[in-house]
Amino acid sequence: MSVGFQELAAAPPPMTSRLEGELLEISMGPQHPSTHGVFRMNVALEGEIVRKLKPVFGYLHRNHEKIGENTSYLGSMPYTDRLDYFCSMTNNWAYALSVEKLAGIEVPERAEYLRVILAELTRLQNHASLLGFLLSDMGAWGTPLMYAFREREKILDLFESLSGSRMMCDFMRFGGCRVDASEEWLGRARKIAEAFPKFLDEFEQLILSNEIVIMRTQHVGKLSAELAINAGITGPMLRASGVNYDIRKVDGYGIYPRFKFRVPLGDHGDCYDRLMMRSLEMRESLAILKQAFAEIPAGPITNPKVKIRAFKPPVGEAYGRIEGPKGELGFYLISDGSASPYRYRVRPPSFINLTILEDLCLGHTVADVMVILGSIDIVMGEVDR
């Protein structure tokens, strides 16, 4: 039934004579269990086929950027946790990175390793729970999601015993990290990382050869490499379309150039590729974790030159970006030399990846829209800010 993406891109298919001009407009969301938050889509349907789709966001707008311009540099750090509440560690890192760029702060070796470890753990738990949510969008209610959450819970326990909070970690500081990890903590983390492939094998056995999953995801929501680049898509979604672009490799921020890992690439850019991409990326994250655990040196975790209070970076501007689990997360800061930034701008991966939702969904059924939306991997806290 579905119309391929290529034909649609060439020319919009003509309406059937019977239903001409009589598209059924429905509003999906904002309180819809599959929209991953408060997100609304105005969908025009012909039968069950989507002919028009207009995303409506803003239900979760919290004035993040304006708050960032009115509070101190440090005061924005806990707010960044609330952007993408699944990956607070990587949000912290992106913000800390841009402030460090702005003020020219050095980060001690051990803190860099800790950051890599925490960012990769974040990637693991984000991708694991995404796979669970995606399956739950397809109708496999509960079971895969609970298996994924069981693993995620172990990583959240690690975060809690290190930073004090499970999701709102508020862990990074300018020029380092807030708390040092004990040997016992590193041992526990290493054990969890070592046991993780077992879960991945089991999860892949559970879903990846399942005929229903294959039928629901293959050739659904194809994204061409060209459109992906033009729309500014980043992260696993871009790589699933076959574009080799990983900021860990391109920018080499932090100490990533020291680690050996591969960048998995997709071929077709459909939902199945995006699903596989997450699974493969988790395995690469595990490879990075293994190297980081082996190499982590002893030493300080904070830069003693950085004051906690009355932190004032010099006049200037900086853009710091990292490869978050969802894509390129960047913070753009302009400093006028005072205690709060003159301009504070977030470049969220979820929001920009969501802009091509209509292109992906046209010609597919309503049920496929949920799968496509799930495979984009959005968190509304980051889309609306």
Partner: protein
């Protein structure tokens, strides 16, 4: 053959179902109100004020410097400084907070107040069962509700509290040594007054 993928998936669910009866790895949930997982040492929730000694209000370490009030990102702390000074637990006259309120419906548990406090007076609590029937006054913690003893702090964060006590003792010893040295210098200068020409 079509259907084998589903069967392979079912094998995984079966393994998990049977395993949940025997394997702690596969059954990770606990029956919450009766059974509780102990919180990790670093766990944090909402701030409280530490007092030393017996009297909760007289022993407060807080000297109402209002640094936490200024640094708090969501501005949930409200402090009114006292007009007079009164002796703290070691007998040194200090200002004290006439009013110290924390609106825990606004607080986002970021612990920046703990980091900026130079007097080790505010620390993070671990209590999380704080549901109230009323959302305004009940969630506004006053000075009396916030004051908790140093023993309680030792109970919830043993390692951190021992470190803080060590730091405070070292600072007190350093201050005492300095005072002694200053007194000695004053004594020597009193013995040999500078000759005026």
């Amino acid at each position: 053959m079509i259907g084998t993928g589903i069967l392979r998936g079912m094998a995984v669910t079966a393994k998990n179902f049977v395993g949940s009866y025997f394997d702690k790895e596969r059954l990770t949930t606990v029956q919450y109100p009766e059974e509780r997982i102990p919180l990790p040492e670093n766990s944090r929730n909402f701030p409280f004020l530490i007092f030393d000694g017996e009297d909760a209000q007289a022993g407060l370490r807080c000297v109402a410097c209002q640094i936490c009030e200024k640094e708090c990102p969501p501005q949930c702390i409200y402090i009114i400084k006292s007009k007079d000074k009164k002796p703290d637990y070691v007998g040194k006259p200090q200002f004290y907070p006439a009013i110290f309120d924390i609106d825990i419906s606004v607080c986002m548990s970021c612990q920046i107040c703990v980091e900026v406090c130079p007097f080790e007076a505010i620390k993070m609590d671990k209590v999380f069962e704080l549901s109230k029937r009323e959302r305004f006054d009940a969630l506004l913690m006053r000075k009396t509700e916030l004051a908790k003893s140093n023993e309680y702090y030792h109970e919830i964060h043993p390692i951190e509290a021992a470190e803080v006590d060590g730091n405070l003792a070292a600072a007190a010893a350093a201050a005492a040594a300095k005072k002694k040295a200053a007194a000695a210098v004053a004594a020597t200068s009193a013995v040999t007054p500078p000759t005026s020409s």
